[in-house]
Symmetry: D2
Subunit: 285 residues, 4 copies
């Protein structure tokens, strides 16, 4: 029986990359089912995601060791993962639970390729629903002083480390991560911001949108960086609003987009479709 | 045979407005076919658009004189227009003609309720297609000094006045109107900006969008005010882009949205659907 | 303190309806905040939804009794409801719970104006999550014979009656209601069909869509009638797919739209925005 | 100076295709900038589109001759085209010119990679605008008998042949092509149908949509086959409508989508992004 793997990589662009990689795979009897490669002119980088199946898992160690060698030659950053493997994920949330609820349901019933290994919150509102899903809930409150903030974040780090998490999802978590944590988890920590970035960064984006009289509101999923709401954008979407909509309506309509946009970003990241290209992303469909 | 009229008004909000207006119309045997009213809590204003038909045009003068009286009582700003009447429009354009071409075609073949009475441009690129449509083309070049700018704008004003225009459409006109002209035409001059405002104001929005790595690009039609790209928004829309799209692709995809968004705003304004509410708009569907 | 009410009505079209209604309301010191009226040429019918506030609830009985009289004169079908009142709702579900989960969360945390008074299912899969939400779960299995079908449906009717439900939502309930139940609940029973109707009626719409090679898939919320997937459409939406998507992807992407489309239809119906016009609907925004 | 080429192919699926192709290209110093490959499980076919640049055009004949050999080995259907080359196109139109006007403008000003070498019409309405664009206009009227139909179509064929056309675009051409012409041009003749297929095939789709009360209308661009409105779908899109929209509004809103959808399909086909897979298409973004 065959097993599917995903090879995802980027490297400085040059001739022959595709040829060398596909020869390597073909030489190991890999059967390619999806190949997407992209050469970025601006950064002179080559990005690729290849899905292939092999008849025995043992061949993967051979492929990996050959990739090791080729990777050095081509200066590649690469990962290889079994397609079925679920990504261990910690979710952080504050007072609004629509994204959390959506991710819990998707992980349980809807084939989302993540395993939620813990939920962190600075509030207790969602303990019940998290524990109902048999997931550890970590109540990590925070007081309005730097010391409490630091302490809480080191507990957050411990939760993540102890759970062996590979991804952090900030699902309407209303705390700004420290530079330290942001940097450490760069490329593995996804936030949902409730506006169409770069419009309406920071606090109260729906109030900002309302006062500007825009006709569409949006949501943006992006990798977290130390610069607030500035990390590489993974996915965005919008919803139409009108003069009939007050701020509560904006929030309600916006929350629907947030759930969808975050779920897509999380899925794509878990499926190794998202590669970082400077301050942007390459997202293979 | 019956004729349709559009009554459009706003006034400070209070009890009885709808009742008084509809009694006035009913008292003159008007038959209402579309009524949309909206009470804005923030500005305490009442907005309404009523489409009605009457059996003889003469009754309109009676309705108008009664509205005069009621308008004073309610402190109303109102207009009444025959539904079939086309709005005399001057279009301004620079080097990109997709919006112009779209509006020319709509005005000629597609029932857009405007009559294009002139096209102004600081370039000669579109003289041919404008004149092919039997519309006067006014080449008003402009040099990079304030004096030339002022002179050109007074010629622009003259064109508009001589043509008896009721609306100005800036269809990718790459000149900033002076405060004077902006103020004079407030609420009757529509611009298309090639971004999803308030993101990417000013010059080169597609370059800005590209460098930010957004996943959607947009266009915004708004009333012109002396503050650049800040006037009340009438309509916006977006298109999905991906890492595959370079700046030329963004421009191409964006141009398609610009044409549609501008055409909608122009149509809605010509149909008296757009009422200004502070720095926002009420748009009745 | 003022209370808001929604008056929703339709009647044969004629002159003076808006005037008479708004005079009646004004005569009782009602303050109108949202008025939408629509006159349908084809069916010669007038539809209206008026939101108004009054300072005391007692005035509503006076308004109602005057509407009684006017209703006879104008041959009106009308309802008047307190805006804050939640609509008692029974949800039916089979093996796919995304719509159910979404509605449960919205009713609990997200201001959806319904009170879920029971969940009916021919399977036991969602007993746990329903009971976790403190809502009665009714397991009503069904065998593949007409007798079992009839018996189960009479139990269904009993659940609905005992709970005092005012609306039934078929949230991926894979049973066809009998003509009897459909007729009895006409205009108060909403179904979500997982295709862009009228395409792909009946069974396995995603398989149908896949085999046709369409580039967009859709979902449709409609009132239930005895004719399968034929009732008046309330809301539809679509999602883009590509050749990369297999049937599982179509189902996954489709399920997201189903949840949103059904939630909108349920909210709009609960807010009295949906009026039936022959085999169509009028939906006031 | 380097020149860009597009290699587009499909073949029965098997191991090593990607490897063999990319080695062939690498062996000729081709620099790959965009690679998209897709393996279809249902039809066991492999589809690929590769954009590459070479430093001299002469190497292309070498690449082509090697592809000849490899093509036989792999049972490939392949084409190789210079990226800059414009596709010679004949457009057919009847009484509605919005798609024609849009394509004329795009071909002239907006970088659409087609050269319009002739316009055929059974009416004279658009002679003026076509000739204004310096394109031959062929008035080929048709009477309501089979003989006239046959005669007209043979004239149509002659126009296409004489102009050396590589693509036919039916831009709201209200005549059904004969089986003969459909078959001859299979995969090179694109039609725009004014509905969201498979809903509302055949005549008067907007009337059909209106009478069904759908909330979205659509347009579909597809390859023409002898079965009316049944050919492989290339692109679709939709627009939201409401009860306020009468049939004229549906037509107006629909026409906007038709132009966009057809323009996309034509561009993608001209850019060799569209590969036929049975009754479906693979469209590389």
């Amino acid at each position: 029986m065959s097993t599917s793997f995903i090879l995802s990589f980027h490297c400085p662009d040059r001739s022959g990359i595709q040829s060398k990689i596909s020869s390597l795979l073909y030489g190991n009897d890999a059967f390619l089912t999806d190949v997407q490669s992209y050469s970025d002119e601006d950064t002179q980088s080559f990005f690729s995601r290849i899905v292939f199946s092999v008849n025995s898992k043992t061949v993967i160690s051979k492929i990996s060791s050959q990739l090791q060698t080729l990777g050095i030659e081509l200066d590649m950053v690469w990962t290889i993962d079994e397609q079925e493997k679920k990504v261990k994920t910690v979710i952080a949330v504050s007072k609004l639970g629509h994204c959390l609820n959506d991710l819990l349901f998707r992980a349980k019933y809807r084939n989302m390729p993540i395993e939620i290994v813990g939920v962190v919150s600075n509030h207790e509102d969602f303990r019940e629903i998290v524990e109902f899903n048999n997931i550890p809930f970590h109540f990590l409150p925070i007081e309005k002083n730097l010391d409490s903030k630091r302490k809480q974040e080191s507990l957050f780090q411990k939760v993540v480390d102890d759970a062996g998490a590979e991804m952090i999802v900030l699902a309407r978590y209303m705390q700004i991560l420290t530079e330290d944590l942001s940097n450490k988890w760069f490329g593995k920590c996804i936030n949902i911001h409730h506006s169409f970035l770069p419009s309406f960064k920071g606090a109260n984006p729906y109030e900002q949108a309302f006062s500007k009289g825009v006709k569409l509101i949006g949501a943006t999923a992006h990798f977290v960086t130390p610069d607030l709401d500035e990390g590489p954008i993974i996915e965005q979407n919008i919803e139409r609003i009108s003069h009939y909509d007050n701020i509560d309506d904006l929030i309600r309509k916006g929350n629907d987009i947030e759930s969808i946009v975050l779920a897509r970003a999380v899925r794509w990241h878990a499926e190794k479709r998202v590669l970082i290209n400077g301050n942007k992303t390459v997202v293979f469909t």
